[in-house]
């Protein structure tokens, strides 16, 4: 503990050689200009005079050499980066956890009024300072965290690598959860053979810490950035509902949260833009500590990109976090589901599907219908349909897509048709499944039904006395909902097809299999969440373009996927997914889908930095604005001293007589 060490000792190895060269140069005769004078007598006497009057004159020659050597050594020492070890990190493994969540974009990084350095920039600067203070042999890891932890560097003693990793960090629009990061740190510490120290550079809005996996004995330091009394109003809720198609307009619901310290209510402006054009604007009164919801009614003819932005006016100067002052959405009517009915003739199916407003019909209002014998699996036109309803048809092969079977069986390997059974009685059904919710199957009276032996992975939705009556099954990119009964053979008396449950079941099946409900859920997500999008039939590849453009990110599509799930949505804004039919890169996309991701997190909107962290099994950690100084860099002093010695040498040189 204590003492001096150098960070780049290689320069000191050059000292002997350079000193030797200096001495060699010193002994080389200076080439002098010859000047003839009438008598050199007086000059010689003047030299003698100076020598007599300056007892140290003899030493001056050597003094110059000594001063030059001293300046050289000091310069080399400066290049070698000497540091005074103040006794902090020494032989330790430091884990630097840098908060990159949305609240770190607040502009009060220095702890004062907003409008200056961001908290994130401050946190990175403080982490760099710890890296600079690392002594020889000290190691460190950089971990970036928001709601998930990401190890940026392995455990290394390379300061350039650590600095580069810190410089490469960028803030996200995600919420903060420190607990998973500390759990991750505990795993990383298993590789740390030496005494560990954990530094958290954050504003303290880190979520619950009542259960963390970090060993309580590991030193934990909370380096706080941001002001304790920061004020902020943010958009914490957004819902975009399209028109129902019955003449009413779309609705945009916006929730504002004023996370400022207690104070009087304020009136702010809230603007709604559709495709960049101001569609509505209104004043909203917000009260500190409370949420306020307001609804915009939108013309039923309008659709497209929705942007909701807070107009803070004079309050802008006090609003610490601009990142949550805007939110995006998409106002889009539900896309029709293209349904092909393959049947020898079924009044119930034909009429029910035709009445469903979501089912696509041609210009004459007719539903696409084919006879079973006209159904050929390798017909490419089948790929245009989102759902194929097969009535009393069991084809030998199926194209990729979604299928609804009535009294038929998909040709999936392992799915065994055990033949017809009589006297079916429904026992129970899955009320939570999208296809069967709000449906009453108790009135389904079945004289005859098919009996199936399900495979692993198949899911029975309606169970009867002889086995599953309605179930889901899949084979690769083929997905089916099988109803083991014939609608046309139901008894007329009290037939289920006349029950309200029947059209509801059919509508549920269309929306679930056709992907409409999936798209609706996926159009508006949170940055920490997952966008789940309907996978168009035949899509083999997808690319994600982030908000504001930038390089597209490929998204993997497995043949078994029934939907595209997009994660790692770090930035808020509008994303675009492009689907391609060919698995190879290139080509024109077959379909483009946009969706919006927003922060919408009241915890992140509350940006006032926490003075202390309460971590399970530890005393409260008081936040400090700076990490304790471990090593003091001395190269500037060495360089300044070298300059001073050079100046002294220059002064002596100008007073000399001989060289």
């Amino acid at each position: 503990m204590g003492g001096l060490e150098v960070l780049t000792p290689g320069w000191l190895w050059a000292a002997p050689g350079l000193l030797g060269a200096l001495v060699l140069l010193y002994f080389l005769k200076l080439k002098r200009r010859e000047v003839a004078v009438s008598s050199a007598l007086l000059w010689r006497q003047a030299l003698d005079d100076l020598r007599v009057n300056s007892p140290l004159q003899r030493l001056r020659m050597n003094l110059l050499l000594l001063l030059q050597a001293l300046a050289l050594l000091l310069l080399l020492l400066a290049l070698a980066r000497p540091v005074a070890d103040l006794g902090g990190l020494h032989g330790t493994d430091s884990l630097l956890l840098v908060d990159v969540s949305a609240s770190m974009q607040a502009t009060d990084g220095a702890g004062g009024a907003p409008g200056g350095e961001t908290r994130f920039a401050r946190a990175v600067a403080e982490a760099r300072r710890v890296v600079d203070d690392l002594g020889r042999g000290d190691r460190a890891i950089v971990v970036a965290f928001d709601d998930q932890a990401r190890v940026v560097t392995p455990l290394t003693d390379s300061k350039p690598a650590l600095r580069a990793a810190l410089d490469a960090l960028a803030p996200t629009d995600r919420p903060t959860r420190l607990a998973p990061a500390l759990d991750r740190v505990q795993v990383l510490l298993q590789d740390a053979a030496r005494e560990p120290a954990v530094y958290v550079f954050t504003d303290g809005r880190v979520g619950p810490l009542d259960r963390v996996g970090l060993d309580p004995r590991v030193p934990l330091h909370y380096v706080r950035v941001g002001a304790l009394d920061a004020r902020n109003v943010g958009i914490t809720g957004l819902d975009v509902r399209p028109s129902s198609g019955l003449g009413d307009g779309g609705r945009v619901l916006v929730t504002l949260h004023d996370a400022s310290p207690p104070g009087p209510a304020r009136t702010l402006g809230l603007d709604l833009r559709l495709e960049g054009e101001l569609a509505a604007s209104r004043s909203v009164t917000v009260t500190p500590g409370q949420a306020t919801t307001t609804v915009f009614e939108v013309d039923p003819t309008r659709e497209g990109r929705v942007e909701v932005r807070l107009d803070l006016g004079a309050e802008r100067a006090t609003d610490a976090l601009p990142a949550d002052d805007v939110a995006w959405g998409l106002l889009r009517p539900d896309e029709p589901v293209r349904v092909l009915l393959v049947t020898p003739g079924n009044l119930f199916l034909d009429s029910a599907l035709r009445e469903d407003p979501l089912v696509w019909k041609d210009a004459r209002g007719e539903l696409p219908v084919r006879a079973p014998e006209a159904f050929v699996a390798d017909d490419p036109a089948l790929l245009d349909y989102d759902l194929i309803v097969l009535d009393r048809t069991s084809p030998a092969a199926l194209p990729p897509g979604s299928f609804l079977f009535f009294a038929g069986a998909p040709p999936f390997p392992g799915l065994e048709d055990l033949g017809n059974k009589r006297d079916w009685r429904v026992l129970d059904w899955d009320e939570a499944h999208e296809a069967t919710r709000f449906v009453n199957f108790s009135t389904l009276n079945l004289p005859v039904g098919q009996r199936f032996a399900l495979r692993d992975g198949d899911q029975a939705l309606v169970r009867a006395n002889h086995g599953p009556l309605v179930f889901t099954c899949a084979d690769g990119d083929r997905r089916a909902l099988v109803c083991a009964f014939d609608l046309m053979s139901l008894p007329v008396e009290g037939a289920w097809t006349f029950d309200p449950s029947y059209p509801i079941f059919l509508a549920n099946a269309v929306r679930w299999l056709g992907g409409a409900s999936r798209d609706r859920k996926g159009l508006l997500v949170r940055t920490a969440g997952t966008a789940e999008l309907r996978l168009p039939p035949g899509a083999r590849r997808a690319e994600l373009t982030p908000p504001g453009g930038g390089p597209a990110r490929p998204l993997a599509i497995a043949p078994t996927d029934d939907a595209l799930r997009v994660t790692d949505l770090d930035r808020a804004g509008l994303y675009e997914v492009a689907y391609f039919a060919a698995p190879e890169p290139g080509g024109e996309p077959t379909r483009r889908v946009r969706f919006a991701a927003n922060l919408l997190d009241p915890d992140e909107a509350a940006v006032a930095a926490a003075g202390s962290l309460v971590v399970a099994d530890r005393a409260p950690l008081q936040g400090v604005p700076r990490a304790a100084e471990q090593n003091r860099d001395l190269w500037r002093w060495a360089a300044a001293l070298a300059l001073a010695v050079l100046l002294l040498e220059w002064w002596v040189y100008n007073r000399r007589v001989f060289v």
């Binding site: 002098r32 010859e34 000047v35 009438s38 007598l41 006497q45 030299l47 100076l50 000399r656 007589v657």
Partner: protein
């Protein structure tokens, strides 16, 4: 005055910047490379009409009554036959009866002889330093010295002084025998023109030989830079011991009074070829000027202490001012 004593009584101020060198060459005046061997570059007449007009009425002055070889125009310590009464003495057998003072005999009845001051011709010895160190500076020191000797010689000749001239370096190189009368001016000028610089300075040897060859007392003007490492005291004593009226005219170039040198140099002595490596800085320049000042002061004190006269002249000083003003103020001419 620009750093040089206007007369022997003025202090030397070597710290002040010297006058700019009055170079005659095409190159920049004052350049160290152009200061040696400049004698050959200056070819003007030793005496011009304007100067002759100014000095025509001057005469060589002496503080001492000197002994000449012939009856002349200068008062002598000897009692002689001039018209100027000096004293009486008792008559002795053999005295010229024409000098008996009959008025005293009438009053005192004692025979007294009148004594008169003897008037003799005066010797003017001009000794010029022609060593290599004099071939230096702009204007050239030797040329300046030659002009000074020519002017003084002219004054001496026209005033019926016996003028002898010697040129020396390491020894007495050439001598012009004592002559008198204006008719010898041409011989004097030719002697000076034929004097060329060269050799080391040995002031003592030159003075010793000149003094032995010219035993008659008179006015001795030594024109030199007095930069002899052996000093000047022993040399001048050869003249002082013979009770001669000694005048030391020290001629220095402005580039010696305020050297335009700086930096790392190898100084080469033009007389002995010795090299001295120096790094000339401000402190060294100040030390040089201190040494030069001390050397001038030592010569001046030596002269004043022994009744000799001393004048240090920079070659930057206009020559007519030297003769008409400075030498007259010093009492060398009147």
């Amino acid at each position: 005055m620009s750093g040089l004593p206007a007369s022997a009584g003025e202090p030397v101020d070597l710290a002040a910047p010297g006058p700019p060198a009055a170079g005659t060459g095409a190159s920049a005046p004052g350049s160290p490379h152009e200061l040696v061997g400049t004698h050959a570059l200056e070819q003007g007449p030793l005496l011009d009409q304007a100067l002759l007009a100014k000095i025509a009425r001057l005469d060589v002055a002496t503080r001492k009554l000197l002994q000449g070889r012939q009856k002349g125009e200068k008062k002598s310590k000897k009692r002689g036959r001039s018209v100027e009464f000096a004293d009486h003495r008792p008559y002795a057998a053999g005295d010229d009866l024409r000098f008996l003072d009959w008025s005293i005999y009438a009053r005192l009845e004692r025979l007294m002889v009148k004594l008169f001051l003897e008037e003799e011709d005066q010797h003017l010895y001009l000794l010029v330093d022609a060593s290599a160190s004099m071939d230096y500076g702009r204007p050239n020191k030797l040329r300046y010295a030659q002009r000074a000797v020519a002017a003084l010689g002219y004054i001496g000749l026209v005033n019926q002084n016996r003028v002898a001239v010697g040129a020396f370096s390491s020894t007495l190189d050439r001598v012009l025998r004592p002559e008198r009368g204006r008719r010898n001016l041409r011989k004097l000028l030719r002697f000076l023109e034929e004097t060329t610089p060269g050799g080391a300075t040995d002031l003592g040897a030159a003075c010793r030989r000149f003094a032995l060859e010219h035993p008659k007392r008179g006015v001795v003007v030594v024109v030199s830079d007095f930069l002899d490492p052996r000093g000047h005291e022993d040399a001048l004593r050869w003249f002082l011991a013979r009770r001669m009226d000694v005048v030391c005219l020290q001629v220095l170039a402005p580039q010696e009074l305020d050297p335009p040198l700086m930096g790392d140099l190898k100084l080469v002595d033009v007389e002995d070829g010795r090299e001295t490596e120096v790094t000339i800085s401000r402190p060294l320049l100040q030390a040089y000027k201190r040494q030069l000042g001390a050397r001038l002061a030592a010569l001046r004190e030596f002269c004043h202490g022994r009744g000799a006269r001393y004048l240090c002249a920079s070659t930057a000083m206009p020559f007519d001012r030297l003769v008409v003003d400075q030498l007259r103020r010093l009492g060398v001419v009147k």
